[in-house]
Symmetry: C2
Subunit: 376 residues, 2 copies
């Protein structure tokens, strides 16, 4: 079975590493050369929307998927007319536009913060009055890791309306969303995989709720099960929300939904219709990783268990470091996953996981490991 | 770090899958195309002793290793003059000749069965008289999976001497070893990894003793910890033997030593200076797999823990089957590892592992899985 993946970064690489033992062969469509996925299959080094590249990409594929949600819509449609593409363009469409995404959450009764679309200076002024301070202005499309967004906490003498208009202009006057800033005590994500195995009902596997810490807009660490949810109540609420979402999208594959934990409960922030950084711990800490289950789902095979195979698991991203793997390998129990990239400040170069028998045992070991990791 | 592996079969493939997350890149020297390791790196499709192939193989390598012990001695020597080769040619030499191997065991006080070298008809007659029945005649070199050997249980009117001479001729009159057949209650293997991390003493990691069942001379299943050794006494004896062996060889990398369990204790059968089929369970059942630890050893990095990360783990080989992965994936907890080979009778196509919280829980699940697997 030859599987095509649009994108050849670390997510593609980890899909490849999970799928090769299942007998899959991989082909990646990725304009950047060399790329992390290059160790795990053939690479078509072409733009995502290059017609010749797309022709070569789909040739002889059994099925296709993607490692990022910003696949050009036309390219995704073109691929899906020639080879089964999972998750479908419906999941892609929702995730590519923050306004469409928020409205999809709302329509399913999944709480979101107040928000408004901003496409003109007039919209910006209206939105500013309605949403108030503090708020976050984000481009509707193509943002990631804190890029394409701008937090507005205070305004000067010129007033909130002028400040939001200026922020909108600083984002290139692109179509934007203005969101109320949500006071929250924690950030969590629910990673789920939905499959429709041949001859069976649809099934959804939920990983335990994961608590995430960000630094500079980039994921710093993930811990499962989420320490902020000791009794599992949030986990259960999040499962309900995500079940509604994946059923409504008829989603096939992995999905990640990020939530803010607030006094009023969970507020949905965004979704990613793909394997997700906050699920990397599942390679070492779950019976079946998010990568393997994504592949099982898109191949119409039964899913594996998403439960923890240890008592607790944590992941720390390695960003912009010059890593000497042996230093981290020498830390008792740390597992190192490098992406084969050259060092560059702000770049995700790899991640480390720690597994422990209990959450209480994990915490001090994680603190020690965190003190060793410094980002550049 | 670019690692070269002589041989591109499933062992090379699993080395690649273990090393890519450590940031390693792989190159394989393998005459057969396509080959299982082809999904995990560059392949030089040339004979193992082809001068041009060897030149291209070593070009730019950081270090080299091998996935099988029958690397031509001259090729191994040529590689080791150009790039660090682990395990060294010393370990290779011992493992390539069954007589040298037996004498190495004897010299270290590791029990072996009575044996005799057979290079002429006269040797064969002498050996037959000395060893008696039942006995096993094997070629000194290049045997594997029951190939190049012949069990002699009974003789006709022509007498034992004539029978052994005829058996020797049937093996091409190659240099052979005649071994007494060892009455045994079980077969076990000890897999160990020895490393000399930079600036540290040599360290050896021992996996738990593994019990193996063979069918038609091919490994059928492995279970760890070995059910025949409930109190761990054999494990402790085997560790002592293997520690002596790896120290005497100044071995760096993984080694597997197979033993017969007899009323008189352990009898060493053979060694393999490489990752071994009876250690495949370590991918899913140990904190660090034999593959990752082999790579950490040859890179002079500290070793990871070889202990079980579950209560018990079993592996079943898939030989000559037409495998529908989804059938095995549907078995609760089974993990499937396929090698990407075309089906052919007698060919190892993959393996399946089962992990359980206790040995008692593993046994019935293994029995159920065994009933599903049929070899061709």
């Amino acid at each position: 079975m030859r599987v095509g993946v649009v994108g050849g970064g670390q997510l593609g690489r980890m899909l490849g590493l999970a799928g090769i033992p299942l007998g899959m062969r991989f082909r990646f469509l990725e304009p950047t050369h060399p790329c992390p996925a290059g160790e795990c299959g053939e690479v078509i080094t072409r733009a995502y929307d290059d017609p010749l590249g797309l022709e070569r990409f789909v040739d002889g594929l059994s099925l296709a998927t993607y490692e990022f949600e910003n696949v050009p819509a036309q390219a995704a449609a073109w691929i899906s007319e020639r080879v089964p593409l999972h998750p479908s363009t419906r999941s892609l469409t929702v995730s590519q536009d923050r306004i469409v995404e928020k409205r999809a959450f709302e329509a399913l009764g999944i709480p979101v913060q107040p928000f408004a679309a901003v496409s003109t200076p007039e919209d910006a002024r209206d939105a500013a009055r309605r949403i108030g301070l503090p708020c976050v202005l984000k481009t509707r499309r193509l943002g990631y890791d804190g890029k394409g967004q701008c937090v507005i906490r205070a305004v000067g003498a010129e007033g909130i309306e002028a400040t939001v208009v200026a922020a909108w202009e600083s984002l290139g006057s692109a179509p934007c969303i203005l969101e109320a800033f949500v006071p929250h005590t924690a950030e969590v994500s629910m990673i789920a995989v939905r499959a429709k195995p041949r001859g069976c009902e649809a099934q959804t596997a939920f990983y335990p709720l994961t608590e995430n810490v960000h630094r500079r807009g980039i994921l710093w660490s993930s811990v499962a099960p989420a320490p902020c949810d000791p009794d599992g109540k949030l986990d259960s609420v999040a499962r309900g929300f995500v079940q509604r979402l994946v059923d409504s999208l008829d989603h096939v594959g992995t999905i990640a939904v990020e939530f803010f934990v607030t006094e009023q409960g969970l507020i949905a922030n965004e979704l990613a219709p793909r394997v997700h950084n906050s699920g990397h711990w599942t390679i070492d800490g779950a019976h079946t990783s998010q990568f393997e289950n994504h592949l099982r789902a898109i191949a119409s095979w039964p899913l594996g268990s998403p439960t923890l195979c240890v008592g607790a698991c944590a992941m720390i991203n390695l960003v912009g470091l010059s890593i000497e793997p042996s230093q981290l390998l020498a830390r008792d129990g740390a597992r190192v996953h490098l992406y084969g990239k050259d060092q560059r400040p702000g770049r995700k170069l790899g991640h480390v996981t720690l597994c422990a028998d209990t959450p209480a045992e994990l915490a001090p070991r994680l603190a020690r490991l965190e003190s060793l990791v410094e980002w550049a």
